[in-house]
């Protein structure tokens, strides 16, 4: 596509005075020799065929939260026992609808973020700002290339895929209206579609901020930065940024640097905006993931809280008021009922906040930077932190146990209170470490005990020691790294890529996540991480005092741990899988989604792990990976997403593929066995990860390696050789050499027969020669 444009920096005549005028007609894209694939900017139904292929093998299993539909005034409608609602919907379609709704919400959150980011950066730096993802990254935006069919060269080029995504999101969401879509598979197809769009939106947001804000451009050695409560210097004024949009936090850093004050004020963050603050400047601190939000706010350490968008506690204002912390809302998504002070002078806003106004809405990042810094300096040391007598509060506890019932993890708070009432705070301190920080326990306490605050007070010493190192988000995976690992991944000699992503709603201690990651690091899988999970991976030290990030290099390579960055950086994990198809296998990307997803499903042994997935964004992220052919394992709380995608290993007909060599049909091993699976325990997850890295295309050497890990982990955690081992062995050459005798006995008992190893595809059109397909 071509266009034309002109720019006038300054023009003054008798008739007119112009400054900074830029006119663009049409679009500027570099000529791109790659042939356009069949589905550039696919509509809601363009990839429906691919979705149905997936859904035929990986059928949705629904676990309704609720028997009812409450979405229109026909209702409430009871959908239990096969009953239909007044609109005609049944419980299966209703669950598909809820799933689609969740994925739309998730995609909208990333889309809103991307729109804010792109508009802001174009306004500030210009539409011609080049897309620059670093010297070793030529495939700068694999998802944009794949889905939109364009190769963006400048910030302005991001607008077209952004508008496309917004349109698809609108169509997808509209299907949830009463009287629209009515069948569960089509709800699922739309959920897969909007979640693919979500991946596009995440990439747009991160490509924009990497290019314009100077973030790491795929650097495996991105700096190790501070994370944890204990890393915050409480002697300084403290500004806490919560959310996902780094723009206002970056403006704070700019203001401090411009005024030579950066050493005088502490800038810290919670959730993904914290990742991005350290990508903007390594001097920023990360308090921790979402689970630390209420705990940290309750300490009253922060003088000012800046909220941007996503994952901010909706009661942040009242929580901040408990310690007279000022709140600045900076985004149209979260206004908190605050007065809009955008047009007011900084002096007036600061004056009001010092006098005790709870907060202000300021929709101008630069103004936020100035106000936040000045107010933090004024408030620091002046605010009175409320003293808390733990023993006195604990004595109020009646041991009713309602807090345990409300607690996600049924933590034994009454026992902790009983001990604390006698002066022993040890159990409360232990509970603090397991607490997800939701605060629901307090809501049901008839004695109004501030339980979360008590936990924090009891764990003071533990908190002081919370000081770790995390590698700042590196952004994209370099093309050179993909060239190095592409072949061993596709052949199976690197046993898999494991991505730890998502929220901190863990079933137990976050230490489980660290244990899982280290098992696969030690086994030389490629381990990558993003978002809150990437933070939690940093929050345990080994006996030598090192975190995983200090022990393992940050490359995208076997035995390495790469932190790609915030939630929107998840796009780089999907991007890495896409780049394997493009850079290693030379498959065309441009508008060629189905073929690339088919390639990844059959060849790239990648598994996502969202052990504490909580949000709608996590739902759309997982579903987006699923459409791309990447399975995701979620923790037990993930059952509350109400839908899994499960294959049936016992149904051989579900595992038929085309052999692309001659078009014949052949059965392959049932892996990945699931697209979305809920594991009950850490042990089950670990074994499932190893098993789901198996791919039909593995070479015999690769399959040997993958099976060796699967068998070994199965023995280690379950105490036995896997029952289903035989179905993963295609020829004797697949058997790990050291286990050959043992396994051959098993195979004989199961009357095992060798199978063909095909060039697998689910797409008939990719077959080179058509044969008998009876």
């Amino acid at each position: 596509m071509k266009g034309a444009g002109f720019k006038i920096d300054e023009l003054e005549s008798d008739l007119i005075k112009i400054k900074g005028l830029e006119v663009t007609v049409g679009k500027f894209y570099e000529e791109w020799e790659e042939v356009m694939g069949p589905t550039p900017m696919p509509s809601v139904t363009d990839l429906r065929g691919w979705d149905f292929t997936l859904l035929n093998r990986y059928k949705p299993m629904y676990a309704p939260f609720c028997d009812l539909c409450c979405l229109c005034t026909y209702g409430k409608c009871d959908l239990s026992g096969g009953k239909k609602g007044a609109c005609g919907i049944d419980i299966g379609a209703q669950q598909g609808r809820i799933v689609l709704l969740a994925c739309c919400i998730g995609a909208a959150a990333h889309g809103g973020h991307a729109r804010h980011m792109v508009d802001h950066l174009i306004k500030k730096y210009g539409a011609d700002t080049p897309i620059d993802m670093g010297k070793n990254v030529e495939v700068e935006a694999p998802l944009i290339r794949l889905i939109a069919g364009i190769k963006p060269k400048r910030l302005g080029d991001l607008l077209e895929p952004l508008e496309y995504a917004e349109k698809e999101l609108m169509h997808s969401l509209s299907a949830t209206h009463t009287g629209q879509e009515g069948y569960y598979t089509d709800f699922e197809s739309k959920a897969l579609h909007v979640s693919m769009v979500d991946q596009l939106l995440m990439e747009i947001a991160d490509v924009a901020q990497i290019s314009a804000l100077g973030f790491s451009k795929g650097d495996p050695d991105s700096p190790l930065v501070d994370i944890g409560f204990g890393s915050i210097d409480t002697k300084k004024p403290i500004i806490l940024c919560i959310g996902h949009n780094v723009v206002p936090g970056a403006a704070v850093i700019d203001y401090l640097q411009d005024h030579d004050m950066y050493d005088d004020v502490e800038v810290a963050g919670i959730c993904c905006t914290a990742h991005d603050l350290t990508r903007y400047d390594k001097g920023a601190k990360i308090v921790g993931p979402l689970s630390k939000q209420l705990k940290f706010v309750r300490t009253g350490i922060a003088d000012v809280i800046i909220v941007d968008e996503q994952c901010v506690r909706t009661d942040i204002l009242s929580e901040a008021r408990k310690n007279d912390t000022a709140v600045i809302a900076t985004n149209d998504k979260i206004c908190l009922g605050l007065p809009d002070r955008t047009e007011d002078s900084p002096e007036d806003v600061i004056d009001d906040l010092v006098k005790g106004a709870p907060g202000a809405l300021i929709l101008d990042a630069e103004k936020v930077g100035e106000v936040a810094v000045r107010i933090a300096i004024k408030l620091s040391g002046k605010r009175k932190r409320r003293a808390l007598d733990v023993v006195k509060e604990a004595k109020k506890c009646t041991q009713c146990g309602l807090c345990v019932r409300e607690c996600h993890n049924n933590l034994d708070i009454p026992k902790g209170m009983e001990k604390a009432a006698k002066g022993d705070l040890s159990l409360l301190s232990e509970i603090y470490a397991l607490c997800m920080g939701c605060g629901r326990c307090e809501n049901v306490c008839s004695k109004e005990i501030p339980i979360v605050s008590l936990l924090g007070e009891a764990a003071k010493e533990r908190i002081r020691k919370e000081r770790y190192k995390v590698r700042s988000g590196r952004g994209p995976i370099q093309d050179t790294e993909i060239r190095s690992v592409g072949s061993p991944i596709v052949m199976g000699e690197i046993p898999g890529v494991v991505a730890f992503v998502g929220c901190p709603n863990y079933p137990s201690s976050s230490k489980e996540l660290v244990e899982m990651a280290e098992i696969f690091l030690q086994r030389r899988y490629i381990v990558t991480a993003s978002g809150c999970a990437a933070m939690d991976l940093a929050m345990y030290k080994d006996e030598e005092g090192k975190t995983l990030y200090e022990k393992y290099p940050g490359n995208f390579d076997a035995g390495c741990l790469s932190n790609v960055g915030s939630c929107v950086s998840n796009a780089h994990i999907a991007g890495a899988a896409i780049k394997i198809a493009s850079i290693f296998a030379h498959r065309n990307l441009r508008g060629n989604y189905e073929e690339i997803a088919d390639y990844i499903l059959n060849r790239v042994g990648a598994v996502g792990v969202a052990w504490g997935a909580m949000s709608q964004k996590a739902a759309s992220i997982a579903t987006g990976f699923n459409r791309l052919g990447i399975p995701v394992i979620i923790g037990p709380r993930g059952a509350k997403y109400r839908r899994t995608y499960l294959g049936r290993a016992d149904k051989s007909e579900d595992w038929m593929v085309y052999n692309a060599r001659d078009g014949s049909r052949t059965q392959v091993s049932p892996s990945p066995g699931y697209l979305l699976y809920v594991a009950e325990s850490k042990e089950e997850a670990i074994v499932s990860i190893a098993k789901n890295c198996i791919r039909p295309n593995d070479t015999t050497k690769g399959r040997q390696i993958k099976l060796a890990h699967y068998i070994d982990l199965h023995k280690r955690y379950f105490g036995a050789v896997p029952e289903d081992l035989a179905i993963y062995i295609r020829t004797e050459a697949d058997i790990p050499i050291t286990l050959k005798a043992e396994i051959m006995d098993i195979l004989k008992a199961k009357k095992w027969k060798p199978k063909t190893i095909p060039d697998p595809t689910l797409l008939e059109r990719l077959c080179r020669k058509k044969g008998d397909r009876a």
Binding site: A63, L68, I91, R405, P636, D650, E683
Partner: protein
């Protein structure tokens, strides 16, 4: 009406009938094809009941607990609860013994919320009847124990086993 252990876990008008151990034993006794599905939260005390109940029904355990059952003297299947629940909703499934799907499944030893969701799958998408014999009321089951103190629950399991298997 019994309030679910998580008070917000109210699914709708159709909620489990609360049963005593003796009622649960009768329900289990009448079932022709019954199976017990056990989760990861199984300790030694519960394990002995599972071993006893295995004389009366098929048992599936969470893979992570398989080691604990080695040498228990009965055949069991180790499978994740999500996978087993998925199989149960297929009427044509042949069961783990090849004799067909089951008419009653009992759940025991799971995180509360996970069991609730699995019971919801079967409530809406399967014909099999469900019985929860965990410590807390599960509204998505067909039949469930009430919310019980730990000692009440342990005694309840003892009574159930003795009524069904005859162990004292």
């Amino acid at each position: 009406m019994t309030i679910p252990w998580f008070s917000a876990n109210i699914p709708g008008p159709k909620q489990a009938k609360v049963v005593t151990p003796s009622m649960a034993a009768k329900i289990m006794g009448k079932a022709k094809r019954k199976m017990m599905i056990c989760g990861s939260k199984i300790d030694g005390k519960i394990q002995k009941h599972i071993v006893d109940l295995s004389k009366e029904m098929s048992v599936v355990v969470a893979p992570s607990t398989l080691k604990n059952f080695s040498g228990a003297g009965f055949e069991l299947v180790a499978k994740g609860v999500v996978e087993v629940t998925n199989l149960l909703r297929d009427e044509t499934w042949k069961g783990f013994d090849g004799k067909g799907n089951y008419d009653l499944v009992a759940y025991l030893g799971f995180p509360y919320y996970l069991e609730s969701q699995m019971l919801s799958v079967l409530k809406h998408f399967a014909k099999v009847k469900t019985l929860s014999i965990g410590r807390f009321y599960q509204p998505n089951a067909d039949y469930s124990f009430d919310n019980l103190r730990e000692d009440e629950w342990e005694k309840g399991l003892e009574d159930l086993v003795s009524l069904l298997v005859g162990r004292k």
